[in-house]
């Protein structure tokens, strides 16, 4: 069964980036607005319900990051690091990052998705994180 969380991404990436999970976003057929996450209630830009599901690249640039020192959720014991990423498709997402607490993260760093095992109950088998693309080298 696909969990609500797993509706956010596909394990199989985009054709250009097949080994990195793709984000599942939406595109309005009426006005072209691209957004994440996918929803079919109606386009936030124009109100149209002609919305299609699209795969968004799992690659982007880091806008900002922060190390969380005090967790508000037992599923995420502190410290952990989060960031805002602008994807190649223009979507802007916030995600947990797969980096060490002392990682040198500067705006503009290339980031890429990776699949990680889900540890929370009833959230499916996998989750995704973003990590610096440089780690690929």
């Amino acid at each position: 069964m696909t969990s609500e969380r797993e509706a956010l991404f596909s394990v199989q990436g985009t054709p250009a980036l097949p080994d990195h999970p793709a984000l599942i976003g939406g595109k309005c057929a009426s006005c072209g607005h691209i957004f994440f996450p996918f929803q079919a209630y109606g386009c936030e830009k124009c109100g149209s319900i002609a919305i299609e599901s699209i795969q968004l690249s799992g690659r982007g640039k880091l806008i900002c990051s922060a190390q969380v020192h005090m967790s508000a959720n037992p599923a995420f014991p502190a410290p952990y690091v989060v960031g805002s990423i602008q994807t190649e498709d223009g979507a802007v997402v916030r995600a947990v990052l797969s980096v060490t607490a002392d990682a040198d993260l500067v705006p503009g760093t290339s980031m890429i998705t990776e699949l990680v095992p889900e540890t929370r109950p009833e959230q499916g088998g996998h989750d995704i994180r973003f990590k610096p693309a440089a780690k690929e080298a």
């Binding site: 984000l23 996450p37 922060a66 020192h69 508000a72 989060v82 960031g83």
Partner: protein
Amino acid sequence: MAKLIGDLSPVYVVGVGYHPYQYASETSYVALGLHAVRQALADAAIPWEEIESSYVANALLGMAVGRPMLRHLGALGKPVVHIENASASGSAAFRHACIEVASGISDVALAVGVDKPPRSGVFRSPTGIPSLADDAIVPFTHFALLTDEYCHAYGVSPEDLALVAVKNHANGARNPNAQRQKERTLEEVLGGKCISGTLTALQCTPVGEGAAAVIVASEAGIKRLGIDPARAIRVASSAAGSEEAGNDLNPDTALSFTTMSRAITEAQLTPGDLDVIELHDAFTVEELLYAEATGICSPGRFIPMLKEGAWNIGGQCAISPSGGLIAMGHPIGPTGIGQIGELTIQLRGEAGARQQPNAKHGLAHMVGVGAVCYVHVLSK
């Protein structure tokens, strides 16, 4: 054609009352709210019988809490409406009380905000749309991310941002209604508990409990009830908006810019005319983002001007003279009404140790999760 508040009959704030903001206690919300309303009635020097309509702001208490509180002033059968608009609940209640009086439906109306922290978290019904990391990125982390973005964009340090908290704690120390009434050094602010990113506990609002009330009246009401016109402060404008479509991770600032611009223009002022500003400074970075959105300085200039003292009481424009959300506190429902009360006290010249000299124009600004935004300008 659509009308602005300024196109309708003039509205004045004639009464202000508080129950001091404080950490959660066993005191009932009824006692908190009644304390603020009775103080506002005494301040206006009018009896409860003259209040024609009441707007009750809260976000955390649950359904229909107004009449069980107000009935203890005398259950007279007058209209009561509840307004929930997240952090901007009080601001929304104030706006609608003003609209009622400006339209001529009532001559005298009450806006009262009261709240207590919930015992087991805030309930928000699920939308059915999943999120990637909302459970890992709670509000304080959202603002930690914006702090990191601002620091990189304008080359300022986390220590610079902490100066906002030093200023607001100093102001709160002069406000008997503030939840935090202690001056703090930069070392104390930076050395406190680490929350998220570079934010420490003293740079984050303490969400507690309390109440704030204001009474608004028309010119006819002021004359009929013999209210001192010298202590009546004009509501020069009221503007409200909600977030527009887009992929903006900082919608509050864009929304604030638009709403502030409308409110300042409607009041026929320029940003430089503002003497006092109360902002939604729940986290230090918010004060500078929203202050810059008013147009009182260009983006990136807030911190250099803060260091010059421009935003202190006695400076070019006193920002958060009440202590703001960081020091005065943010009990949610009362907060926006408490800001209106602070502006009224400042423009009357009754703020004592935290008085901004010769204050003539003040602006109050709140955002609420959603996002929604409310801005009011008051003038002497």
